[in-house]
Amino acid sequence: MMAGIVACVVLLSLGAACLARSRSQHLSVETLLVADRALPAPMLFILTVGEIYSIGSIVAFPAGLYTHGISYGYWFLGYLLLAFPVGYFVGPAIWERARRYDACTVPEVFGRYFGSVVFERLTAWGCIAALVPWGQFQFIGLRATLGMMGLPGAPAAGLAACAVIAFAYVALGGMRASTYVAFLKDSLMLFGIAAVGVAAICAQYGGTGTYVAHPVVFRQPAVTDMVFAVSTIVYQGVGFYFQPSVTPYLFTARSAQAVRRAMVFMPLYMLMYPFAVFATYFAIRSLPPLRDVNGVFFHVAGMLLPPWVVALVMAGAVLAGLLVLAATSLNIAAMMTRSIMPRLAHGHPRRAINLGVILFLVLALVATTHAPGIMLTALNVSGYVGIQFASLWFVVLLDRPVPARVAGGGVVCGAVTAIALFASGLSVGGINPGFMGLLVNCAVVFCPLWRRKRVT
């Protein structure tokens, strides 16, 4: 029954993508990549929350809270919450620069600002390096969810089906289709998390007495845990909208005002997290220790709710993974065909983008099936690399006269510092390696300006 309900929801999502296609008068490259820069604030809100709150909200957040305790919960909620006020102030400026340079991708903004095709190409490679693990992470989440649905027998076939569906979203309507599917996904995800949370609250405090209480609560943080959490909140919260995986959604807005208005209501979507916390608290207090912590949320759902509700929760998780996978593959394909190999796309840009999407999905599928261990490390590394592009955005938004080679050098120095600190395990008082990298990055980019100012 569970697989049947999930299949019905996925079919419904394809129907939503078809509806998006039928409502588009034409399907140009701009429609595909930036929804013709025509999304009003409510649709931008739906698209952005649909892409931000990925499968990790259901799988990774409860699992991290269950395993690592308070510091993990604080970090996860803190960086997301800080990202929205930062986005309120920088988001409209990012949208305005994208419109000024008529850019559909992040590297196009950089290339046109610095006046260098080579720089555009290099930043495109950097963005793709940061995006590929993020796309693959969705495959891992999807595989875990399919496994929990009782379909572990043919994971490759299940993932291949997911790849086909993600491609269908892209081919049917690009970003606009993603917005329609996001509405369905958000409805299911909010319903699922709220249902599990309320059931956990009722079971925990309702005095049913059917569960054994353990004297275990959330793990208390050490000082180094909190230093890491605070530095990560500042690093990721400030850098969130500068990441190549998030910035392109801002380009779809109708106006700068639409970006600001969408940001005002973004924090309210986080009201689902208290329910996830209560579900995790129930798992810690009332259930025996779990072996598979990634399934903690689904485990609580399975214990407390009827199977059809659990199936809807699973469907929400599957749609979340598919949606982010589709948008990430579209983003990568756009950079491949517009910035790296523009000649190949000459004459048939839409066909080239679709081919790029297929190529990425196939490669990611193969990598996920054969080397999942390497991939998780790659995801960590991509987190340290992605936000380093913030220094380029600082230059663009503040309109500072920084040469392209200095700006590029800053990003490389920042990424190398972060990766070296991460790989060596060297701790600088518990501070996030990415934060250290961003400091080095900004020093390389902006110190020459300061020196020049002093000399003149």
């Binding site: 919450l81 800080l82 309120y88 409209p92 925990q204 005002v264 924090p267």
Partner: protein, 68 residues
């Protein structure tokens, strides 16, 4: 970046309200609360504080929007 659109200068009161107030609540205040072992219904007080700031952050941004 997104301040007083007539003069092109940032409106620092809006920045303080929309960014400064949530930043202080999320970073230094919450970090301090993280070391307290108090709980409400079993949930650590730092997480309850963060939950409270979901609507309060929206309120700060809404007030900013009204001022623009």
């Amino acid at each position: 970046m997104n301040g007083d659109r007539q003069s092109g200068r940032p409106d620092w009161r809006r920045v303080a309200l929309g960014l400064g107030v949530p930043f202080v609540a999320i970073v230094p205040v919450a970090a301090f609360l993280g070391f307290l072992s108090w709980t409400i219904m079993g949930i650590p007080v730092i997480l309850i504080w963060m939950f409270a700031w979901f609507p309060l952050t929206s309120l700060c941004l809404w007030l900013c929007e009204q001022r623009s």
